[in-house]
Symmetry: C2
Subunit: 422 residues, 2 copies
Amino acid sequence: MKKKKDFSAEVREMARKAKWASHQLAQLSSSIKNKALMEMSDELDRQPEWLIRENQKDLAAGRKLRLSSALTDRLRLTPSIIHGMAEGLREVARLPDPVGEIIKMWKRPNGLMVGKMRIPLGVIGIIYESRPNVTADAAGLCLKSGNSVILKGGSEAFHSNQAIGEILRKILVKTGLPQEAIQIFPYTEREAIREMLQLEEEIDLIIPRGGEALLRFVVSHSKIPVLKHYKGVCHIFVDETADLEIAIRVCLNAKVQRPGVCNAVETLLVHEKVAGRFLPKIGKALQKEGVELRGCPQTKKILSHIKGAREKDWFEEYLDLILSIKVVKGIEEAIEHIARYGSLHTEAILTSDYQNAQKFLKEVHSSCVLVNASTRFNDGYELGLGAEIGISTSKLHAFGPMGLEELTTTKFIVYGEGQIRG
Amino acid sequence: MKKKKDFSAEVREMARKAKWASHQLAQLSSSIKNKALMEMSDELDRQPEWLIRENQKDLAAGRKLRLSSALTDRLRLTPSIIHGMAEGLREVARLPDPVGEIIKMWKRPNGLMVGKMRIPLGVIGIIYESRPNVTADAAGLCLKSGNSVILKGGSEAFHSNQAIGEILRKILVKTGLPQEAIQIFPYTEREAIREMLQLEEEIDLIIPRGGEALLRFVVSHSKIPVLKHYKGVCHIFVDETADLEIAIRVCLNAKVQRPGVCNAVETLLVHEKVAGRFLPKIGKALQKEGVELRGCPQTKKILSHIKGAREKDWFEEYLDLILSIKVVKGIEEAIEHIARYGSLHTEAILTSDYQNAQKFLKEVHSSCVLVNASTRFNDGYELGLGAEIGISTSKLHAFGPMGLEELTTTKFIVYGEGQIRG
């Protein structure tokens, strides 16, 4: 345990080293970065026993702290989870390298050629909870995009994260890369995190991943830009003209395929003209899967056996086998409901009407808006970004899934022939 | 003067109204927005006397406060400045509307069509000092990009800003747009600004424009993302192979054409192999324009009559007819100097060497990097963005000049045919 006064200097020193490493990283060729990623995967695949032994220390400490079984599950490293981390790094190695790409170029009347070139952000701080595999995943994405990373995992995963970090850093040294490019934050005190969040000169971006309390803490204390995702209160609007077979398949998928994730649907909005035909069918299908339904008064007229939804249900991210249902007069009311209760995450319309499809796409301003597809597709892999470091529900810089491109910025480049400004 | 306890509720109410207005704004056609902008210009052109009378109140208060003549100059509205504001709005009306543009679209193996569509950010807060013309310029850019704006100008320009705001809002009402789309912040107390900076649910972006103290205040207190520009310590590196005629023309332009702005050059880095030929020429030319030179020891061997540069000179944004000069061994040392002392704003290389031009473009990570052109080109108009609301030296979201596109974000849109996730 360090004394309080030590944090400021030591945390700043970490961040400075990360910044200097980032200057080197920014210049690396894709092949060198890919080689390091592949060797990291191989080393993870060679070391499962050691990683599991280190993970046991965390699990033992967790038992003393009486961690819930859900938390313990998330904390546990198994041979298959470790192999999954290794495979994840191999996949990142195979993705195209965004750094150096010139995304557009144009010519000015005075002959200047102006372009925008992708460059790494610099240093990224990732603050996360529980799952130690995030350590390898996030480090891989940052390395590939030419960024240094400082990883602050949950204190309950301290030994596991240190061990994974040790393997990754060993390979950095072996492949001639600066080992300060990947640093595992060694402090568990809040005070130390607060110090890190002050370092706007050294750190370019903070990505918090975890519960709402963690996110609110980071946003309140950070002078560094933060990309965050508060919650996903996702909606599906079943329009009058929806194909009901598709509607049942999509609504079921969006609710039950993985109810504990942010892009699962939480509220169903149903056009009043189709409610009488659709609700009995979807109600039956959902209840067969164990989903608890909570309906508005009109819904309860059709599904009389279900619970009533209260005002707070419309704001709720259940992350569970619960769904609220509201009958609406039409697309206008659906869009208004989403604007009022939604969380800007993911919304879908199921319709056969061209105008309504276009209207919904245009007027709903969530990070991902879908026509006739499951909300579960709002995901970096599924949308084709190749990988994902999180989903942003803040609009600045990145809105929606963040892949490698979202870990870069662009600078202006100008080719001249001696032009001066008049 | 309002009581302290009033701010929280009233500022939040302003922001909420701005947010509701932003939902309407986001759906407007370009032609309606352009019509409002043109009518605003016409009304400004009809009202110079009234605006100048309101401006007199600020100037009179300024005399009592003994404002410096520089500040008074910036504060003063003249018929030509007012006409300039009107013309600025007309130019914004003529720019392409970024909202609704689909910047790319691709197809997934399961048939989903995935695209990214530009949408407004929502509500933008602009906190600025002195010049009242910013009120019209910023309001015009925000309206065109579909954003509501809350404008907090300097307290010394209170009446001028209120008057400009009144004209703009009158036209909003006349053209059927929500008048809450443009709001002039009516409080001058810091406490009220602090309240505004807490409203992360209502306000999407804060752009501070002004001195370093204002910027640090905003960054320290804001829970809302901030796009800022701290300072411009801009460099020109004169390489061994530079065309010396071009070098003299470009260096002169970058220093003296408008020395008080952020993209003026502050430090000249000169390759040692060309210093003996170049420094006497550029020294003479600069001194003829009244520029004070401060040189490193090697520079002083050639220009013995100039002042010595101290360590702190390399960090300095003079914003004045002062230039520091350093002789370097070559491009490596120049790039290192920029990484150490630069502010990520604007840097140029003057060279005839292909490899060095590419190396400089690739390895210098400032918001704008130029080859054989003046640093003065780092500007929204000059680079072809059409207009500019500021220059960002933070890398997130926008790095460099911010035009209309930078006042938007993108959402993912997905066209499906009933796909579900497996």
